[in-house]
């Protein structure tokens, strides 16, 4: 089965980091192993003369302008098409591929909530996009919250199913820590190369709300570290494994799918994690077993979760360390197997819908 996977990202670091696992060798090989021949296509509005051309020799990714996509699809003749990218960029592509079995992967993007509400207000633009989304036959989502919010907002009215699958994550080389009693307070860590000043301010506010500013220690790994002050120290985001060896608890103040790698690496190394409850991280973490969750966007609830970890730190070293199922599900080969099953379902859902339509017209 040939499946065209179309990426419509803006080429920014944030969006590329989210797309990267889906073009990784492990995931692509996994798809091939499960009988799916993927055709990876990157569509960007600013790609001009390279329509349909292979611009990077050796790269499996075809890059084209939106105008060239139709020709590319006709040339490749895929059995199914799956789109990938922020929904507001995909309406034209969905309309273009309306006749094919069409699926869409809903990912967790940075600032998803704000974007969604903005589009809910722009009624004309939103109505057009929602109308185009009726061509989608089935949905894959990395987060129940994201998929649920879109469907509740009126997107994908004709979709026949939704499947929740985590993004593929390459295995980390970090060794599992040996659980044992901890004498000191835990060191909290945030690994987010693209952290904004707002996110740092949010974390700092949460530390204030713990009421233990002098006792809490936090390391934040960002791309451009600055000198920290008080309980916060900044380090360069070189590698997640090295960072995790220096912290006890991974805190995720804001989640997008690029953070999944850090979360899985933390589970793999037996570290505690604290994640927002409305994100894709909620699909990876079993509350109280692999980690804790807090109400997304609430510094108060994050502070509560940090206090809970700190208070039980010396007595119960384990809040977690049972991340096996989440680690297994995000394995690229296992994830690819699940994606392949969805592609087959997509084709059959489209076929049955077509048969229904034919029956209706004949009837």
């Amino acid at each position: 089965m040939k499946v065209a996977i179309i990426f419509a990202t803006d080429g920014s670091d944030g969006e590329d980091a989210i797309v990267a696992p889906f073009v990784s060798a492990g995931f692509i090989d996994g798809l091939r192993h499960n009988g799916v021949e993927p055709v990876l296509i990157s569509v960007a509005p600013d790609h001009d003369g390279a329509a349909g051309g292979r611009v990077q020799p050796g790269s499996p990714l075809l890059r084209c302008a939106r105008d060239g996509l139709a020709a590319l699809i006709v040339g490749e003749r895929p059995d199914a098409i799956q789109t990938f990218g922020p929904e507001h960029r995909l309406a034209a592509i969905w309309s273009l591929a309306a006749d094919q079995p069409l699926g869409h992967c809903v990912s967790c993007w940075r600032g998803d909530d704000a974007e969604a509400s903005a589009f809910a207000m722009l009624s004309l633009a939103a109505a057009r996009m929602k109308r185009a989304s009726r061509h989608i036959d089935g949905l894959i989502g990395t987060s129940r919250a994201a998929v649920g919010r879109l469907i509740a907002d009126g997107w994908f009215p004709d979709a026949a199913f939704s499947v929740i699958l985590p993004p593929p994550v390459e295995r980390s080389g970090v060794a599992a820590a040996v659980p044992g009693p901890h004498a000191a307070d835990p060191v909290f860590g945030i690994y987010d190369p693209l952290a904004s000043p707002d996110l740092v301010a949010f974390a700092s506010h949460a530390i204030d709300l713990t009421g233990r500013r002098d006792a809490v220690r936090m390391k934040i790994a960002v791309r451009n570290p600055t000198i920290g002050g008080g309980p916060v120290s900044f380090v360069a985001a070189a590698g997640v494994d090295a960072f995790l060896s220096a912290v006890d608890v991974l805190v995720v103040p804001a989640y997008d799918d690029s953070i999944a790698q850090a979360v899985i690496a933390a589970l793999q190394s037996g570290k505690s994690v604290i994640v927002p409850d409305r994100s894709g991280a909620a699909e990876l973490i079993e509350y109280g077993r692999h980690g804790l969750m807090f109400a997304a966007g609430s510094a108060y609830h994050l502070a509560n979760a940090m206090n809970l970890v700190s208070q039980s730190w010396s007595q119960t070293p384990v809040l977690l360390a049972e991340g096996g199922p989440a680690i297994a599900r995000t394995d690229p080969a296992a994830d690819a197997q699940s994606f392949a099953a969805v592609y087959r379902r997509l084709v059959s859902a489209h076929a049955s819908e077509r048969d229904d339509a034919r029956g209706f017209s004949h009837g």
């Binding site: 998929v147 469907i151 109400a295």
Partner: protein, 310 residues
């Protein structure tokens, strides 16, 4: 996911009426798609009423009795705690609700087909006065069961309807359970659904695949029930006014003000239209009115106290 792969558990929530609970348990035993686990949550004080439940052949096999310490509030937390480790989906069925034979199959199919769904509340708007009528009921022969006049159905207060709730266990971590009166499961269910809403898709449906059995015209006083229900709505309203995080800019499955209006509206209509139930409805309205006066008195007292402090 294949529907059969999802493990479903049914939690029957008992109040005090053995006869109504029997009707519910029998309907669970008749489900064509048998649940993977069944539990009956009863207040510890009335557990003796169901002492034979585990051996009764008319009840679901493998029925587990969970005695709840709460005797005047809906034991939702106990039910969830008892069932969560064993299943993927939990269906909460209150006393007096008779499920159609296909009910669980539908739930399984919906949950398997839409993995983004984390909870669904089914408003049961069909009422039968006789259990034998409910027993022969199925979704296909729905129209045979009386469901009240169209006007009454439109005006019905949701808190007076029976409800069935299903939730996806995966999404239920760190839920908060508030204490609600036993008779108003809609308050408890909508509170859970409101908490689940940011975690995935939730919805309210009127499936018509379940029916509520009543034990004939109510002859007891409705004063306490009316007072409890209206008081609970008042408390929810006051709590939300104070809470700046939990409900900021969020829609809810329960609007206390609108619900109170519906309650009064429905009860007045019933009072006028149903002479048989008039004493019960009259006392129910008096109970609501008493709760309203109590809430107003408390508000005034607090305002006076604050004024004195200044």
């Amino acid at each position: 996911m294949i529907p059969g792969c999802l493990r479903c558990g049914v939690v029957a929530l008992a109040r005090s009426d053995r006869r109504l609970m029997e009707a519910t348990l029998r309907s669970i035993a008749r489900l064509t798609d048998a649940p993977n686990a069944t539990a009956l949550v009863v207040p510890a004080l009335s557990a003796h009423q169901f002492a034979d439940a585990t051996t009764n052949p008319a009840f679901p096999s493998g029925l587990r009795i969970v005695a709840s310490e709460s005797f005047d509030t809906l034991p939702l937390a106990d039910g969830l705690r008892a069932m969560a480790p064993r299943v993927d989906i939990i269906v909460f069925v209150p006393e007096g609700v008779v499920l159609g034979p296909d009910y669980l199959r539908r739930v399984r199919e919906t949950a398997a087909c839409w993995q983004d769904m984390v909870g669904e509340l089914d408003l049961v708007d069909r009422v039968a006065d006789d259990e034998s009528l409910a027993r022969s009921f199925s979704a296909a022969d729905g129209p045979e069961v009386a469901s009240g006049s169209r006007l009454l159905r439109a005006l019905r207060a949701k808190t007076l309807c029976a409800n069935v709730l299903w939730v996806r266990v995966e999404a239920c971590g760190s839920l908060k359970f508030m204490a609600f009166p036993q008779t108003a499961e809609y308050l408890a269910f909508s509170s859970l659904l409101d908490q689940l809403r940011p975690r995935g898709r939730t919805r309210m449906v009127v499936s018509g695949a379940a029916v509520q059995v009543r034990s004939g015209p109510e002859r007891r006083s409705g004063f306490e029930a009316g007072r409890e229900l209206y008081g609970a709505l008042n408390r929810i309203g006051a709590w939300r006014d104070r809470s700046d995080v939990a409900f900021q800019g969020r829609t809810s499955y329960l609007e206390p003000r609108a619900e109170k209006l519906r309650l009064f509206g429905e009860q007045i209509l019933r009072y006028v239209g149903s002479p048989v139930s008039r004493p019960h409805i009259g006392s129910f309205i008096k109970g609501m009115w008493a709760a309203r006066r109590e809430a107003a008195a408390t508000r005034h007292r607090i305002r006076d106290d604050i004024r004195k402090l200044r």
